[in-house]
Symmetry: none
Subunit: 111 residues, 4 copies
DNA sequence: ACCGTGGTTAGCTTTC
DNA sequence: GAAAGCTAACCACGGT
């Protein structure tokens, strides 16, 4: 019990009046709320997440398709990626990194 | 036929070590179609991608929020992630097994 | 065409009296010597590969440890990675890529 | 310099304009220790990593050779790869399941 | 002989 | 500060 992992909600209350555990409508399992309301909620959360991840995967697929189309038109996708990444990058931070890199390079004589 | 998109679309080639003395710094449209139709197309592709990536980022945000909500309800997100990962693994493994089966079938002529 | 994948070298081995070179009782996938000696050979190849991949994984672990040690000494690992990657890169190729990138950038007006 | 990136271990130095091109051997800590002890250590780390990566590359080469040999014997490498991947997946999944079980156990106080 | 595809690896982010 | 998951780049292979 070194780390409290708290898999299920009912554990978080410090007011642990222990008799609230088995309220689940005559559940035959006697105790764990297996299949009970917490289980239902958990399932719901998980399904929501899985649904969102599917959408994300679809979007990634779309992106890949755009790249493919661009490539089919004759563009170089590697360069495109580089451009997009550059546009995302803050200039300041980039410059700093480059300075640091120079420093290191001179440190090892790789001028 | 000679409707070759020119300028950009042949970029993929990385050898061609020609030391391109033709500096495009002059930004004359003479040869490169800089800012011309290929440039416009490229820009369009890039903007489409950036738009999709924004949507993706939004989705990722949503996912984070669901986790946060679940956590607020008392669930342990680490466990949730593991469950989701296992479920995904099951799906993947099943899919791969089916592919393997197909492979075997074709191997023995059961096509 | 040519759906013939030929998973096994000599499939026509009708003499399939399980000559039990196969000792693996616990094997999950058909560890059976279906097809005669070919199964044994296949298993041998696969085990050799798995062994090599273990070694590779160990090596990757070692590399991670060196990075960790360097970090513990105060170096910035991200920069180190960059240096290593630069050293691997042929200068010529890198310069060319940069030129191409410049070209693209000017193409979309991102000067 | 929003984030202190900790360019060099000996950090204590606040004078940061390393204008002094001090390459002299008896560098008296006045500047960056360029080429000094930190540089030497960095170089050592980098060389160790590069050595390990060479070994790794050799191992990858070996793996390729085994695949080639198997192919020469008549096996279908694609199938082999899939089998190996499935076997790895099994191992991973089993490990993860066990972790999940531990998680659950601690969650219900079965520590 | 080239292109497209998929699988692999490394780097980055985020979490604990 | 360490660990893991996610993402993107790389590379090798098979197909056309």
């Amino acid at each position: 019990m070194s780390e409290n992992v708290a898999a299920f909600p009912q554990a978080e209350n410090e007011n642990d009046h222990g008799d609230d555990t088995d309220k689940s409508s005559g559940s035959s399992d006697g105790g764990k709320d297996v299949g009970g309301v917490a289980g239902a909620r958990l399932r719901s959360f998980i399904e929501r997440i899985e649904r969102l991840e599917e959408e994300k995967a679809a979007l990634m697929e779309d992106i890949k398709e755009v790249y493919a189309e661009a490539k089919g038109t004759g563009f170089d996708t590697k360069t495109m990626r580089k451009i997009i990444s550059l546009r995302k990058m803050e200039t300041e931070k980039r410059r700093e990194s480059e300075e640091l890199l120079e420093l290191y390079k001179s440190a090892i004589g790789m001028v």
